[in-house]
Amino acid sequence: MKEPLVMRMPGFWPTGSYRALCVWIIFLAGSMLVAGFGEHWSWAVNFPRDWTVPLRYWISDFMEWLTKDLDFGLFTFKEMTRSITWLLEWPLMFASGLLVSGFSFSSDPNAEVVLHPLPWIALIGLSMILGHWVRDWKLALLTGTCMAYLAIFGRWESAMITLSAISIAVPLGILGGLLIGILAHRKAGFARTIEPVLDLMQTTPVFAYLVPVLFLFGFGPVAAMIATMIYATPPMVRVTMLALSRVPAESIECGLMQGCTRRQLLWKVMIPSATPGLMIGINQVIMLSLNMVIIASMIGAGGLGFDVLSSLKRLAIGSGLEAGIAITLLAIVLDRLSQSFARRGPGMRKRKGGLFIHRHLHLTVAIVLLVGTWFISTYLPFARAYPESWTITTSGFWEDLVRWINVSYFDQLEAFKNFLLLNILIPVKRFMLATPWVVVVAFVMLLGYRLGGWKLALLTVCLTLLIAFTGGWKKGMITVYLCGISVVFASLIGIPIGIWAAHSERGHRIVQVCIDTLQTLPSFVYLIPVVMLFRVGDFAAMLAIVAYAIAPAIRYTDHGMRQVPTQLVEAAKIFGCTRGQILRKVKLPIALPEIMLGINQTIMMALSMLVITALVGTRDLGQEVYIALTKADTGRGLVAGISVAAIAIICDRLIKAWVAKRRTALGIDGN
């Protein structure tokens, strides 16, 4: 009686559950065998050190050759990269001249500034005009308030340094991503080769390639900008490819019938109709670029990132938080403006007839404002730079708050921490480290085979072996442990929140704001208070990872639950299901693939937090990357970084394979 039921229900293992069971039993028996004979087969338990391939030294040597010896005859490789730096310096100098330092039109750095930078009043006004132009007064108020925050809290100059770097990096990233995406859309072969490269760019921790970038592009803002672009461009490429492939065939045919050339078809038909999709990419580029602000400040970008870092080094929690919020607000302004700009219909853009002033009201006001404030600022210093005596700060409050929590609740927090640490974290860590590596490889292979066939099994095994053979096994396992536990906690907290948000509009809005803040607020800001309350160690690291990685778990759950077809819910109601039953038996199973994609993103973000948590003393691959950075060891950093990427890619492929199977079983169209 039971058998057909199992067959009909799409179970966790999509096919032949009996065969699957057998395979897993054999696997378990094998693992026990390996563990039991551990003494005799020590090579199977701990990865033998002399099997390690010295890949990191090869990479370091290659880098040395690249920067010192490679010569194209007329110029060397390093001269080539340096000339790129020189080229990129021009727009950056212009932007920072406009926003920060002004122009002196002289090569002498001490010369008097002839043309002052844009005054703060002008920029606040300009942002409001822009807000009103792209949407309405509400947006104007929002952008104006955010920009005013920067001035009032004394972050103006730093914010402008950051903004000048961002204002060059973001358009370049968008343009580059768009062009690569178009090329990949046109040439299938190119798309196939670029796919793994994009994977690597997105999953390798930034710290890992910071050293080679420094070697090639020199110290300073340009190197920081290039690192930012490597990190922030891939989503744009992907989104472009996806958006172009989704342009309706009718539109293209219509364009062809009108006699469009290939170029016209692309720029006049396909790109406009793909714009809503492309906007997601633009949003991602902006968000990720602002994510990079802190890391970029470590290699000479300065600005808000430097403010955050230096405040926290002095343990000035409040001032670090204020600088961190400034980054978040900058992200909000840029994001809302670009989103609204894209949503403006083409019809809204032109107002015909009347005087120039009527047709271009916003432009006129902006010009008047610019000229006026610029004129004033040459005579009145307070208009040029926001006076320091007008600034306010709340930093004392935050420091007192943390002190109060610390003094009054430390013992309770400590007890809670010790409970989790002694009962969950430490046992799991011991288990992961004690598991023989052969067993792990076999497990990953089986999982790959069950979910995606031999091809997937081969890929996962190769990537696992890559970690083992480059000497990162132990640290890799600690990585898996720390990220795994964090992802479990993030899901346990995030999924219920997502379900709640899906059922309530107000909840949805509140959650949105929280998620956006968590994602753009630099994790450094909460890392130091967390250390103060929970001491250095795995627990503090886990909390920081959970805080950062919880966002996609919430977002995808919310999204997935909202997409459950209403007919199904209605049908369930007719059958007399209670609310709990509808949730458990109808909504959750159908939303599960979407939720799993959210967990997939959570894993990716958890892995990308690793290097940051190395700052509070974890001993995983993130630490390896961090050590390599401080020692300027290219090979060591890249190898550890690629190992992190390997873990990410394994998880990603396995989960996606599972989702695909599940979707077919449920009869839902995969995207």
Partner: protein, 319 residues
């Protein structure tokens, strides 16, 4: 493709030529900015600003550039960065020697400050563990310094792994009943200290000076058997006849390092940098003024320059 590269390169050359041609005006060898690196601790900020101000007084152009303490060597070797004012023997010696060996950087002499790094505890711990600061008292107080994770051993919070310091070896050689936990960064280390100090809770960790922490928090360094070179290299020397590292940490110099090419380009400036010296006392006072009294680095440096005019003008005498 090669054609575009060529064009980049030609424009690169033209740019370089423009920079060179515009640089003959003042009475110094070159008005190209001398780039001084800034790291993330106040003391270094102050030494660098003092040096920068002195160089400006001499007529040089000066630029400050934020850079990582160790990663900066890549920049110093290639000439992207020019002068680093604080390289500590205790933490940066290996990286510095490796860099000097390339021949692209040059040792610009000691700053006159002495780095002290050692195990440190807040002063109130003397009540709970009366034998301190003698290291022999540590084992008696292991339970006082222990936490749930390390019990029954005591917990010692060491610096980031990259700092070295041989604390694991020291614990073993001196048979200390302590577990060494590594903080990932300076910030994490002092965040824990601040937290413990607020609660007057036990804390034992790596503190160094010149730094604001020993000024802000009252405490003492543990007194280990005095360091000697033999203690680190020769197993038979020291308290434990079978092991090395059975003594305290070395106290070391803090040096200045520069890009080799600058020696010719700004020879007089490099002489002034060589001549720069300051002592721990003066430095500690200035760090305290900035970090504890909330003055700006610029004001504090300006105050020092006014009060010590004779000192710094003597540096600027070109030989």
């Amino acid at each position: 493709m090669p054609k575009t590269h060529n064009r980049f390169f030609t424009s690169f050359l033209i740019g370089a030529a423009m920079l060179v041609s515009s640089s003959v005006q003042a009475d110094v060898e070159s008005t190209d900015p001398i780039i001084l690196t800034l790291h993330d601790w106040t003391g270094q900020y102050i030494t660098t600003t003092i040096m920068g101000r002195v160089l400006q007084e001499m007529g040089y152009n000066v630029k400050y550039q934020q850079a990582d303490y160790l990663a900066q060597f890549a920049g110093l070797e290639s000439g992207d960065l020019h002068v680093a004012m604080e390289m500590w023997e205790t933490t940066g010696k290996d990286a510095m020697e490796k860099s000097l060996a390339t021949g692209n950087t040059v040792d610009l002499g000691e700053t006159g400050m002495q780095a002290i790094e050692e195990w440190w505890y807040p002063i109130y711990m003397k009540d709970k563990c009366p034998g301190l600061p003698d290291w022999n008292a540590l084992n008696d107080c292991a339970d006082v310094f222990s936490t749930a994770e390390t019990a029954p051993s005591g917990r010692y919070l060491g610096g980031p792994v990259t700092w070295g310091g041989y604390d694991d070896e020291r614990v073993e050689a001196l048979e200390l009943n302590y577990e060494v936990v590594h903080a990932g960064t300076d910030a994490a280390l002092f965040a824990e200290l601040e937290s413990a100090y607020q609660r007057k809770a036990p804390w034992l960790g790596w503190v160094y000076t010149p730094h604001w922490a020993p000024i802000k928090f009252e405490g003492e360094f543990v007194e280990f058997p005095r360091y000697s070179d033999e203690c680190y290299t020769d197993k038979s020397v020291g308290v434990n006849p079978d092991m090395a590292y059975d003594c305290g940490k070395p106290r070391g110099w803090i040096k200045k390092v520069g890009w080799k090419g600058g020696e010719e380009k700004w020879s007089c400036a490099y002489n002034a940098i060589r001549a720069f010296t300051i002592d721990n006392q003066a430095m500690g006072t200035m760090v305290g003024e900035v970090d504890l009294d909330g003055k700006s680095v610029e004001d504090v440096v300006e105050g020092w320059l006014n009060a010590n005019k004779d000192t710094w003008t003597s540096w600027t005498q070109c030989s």
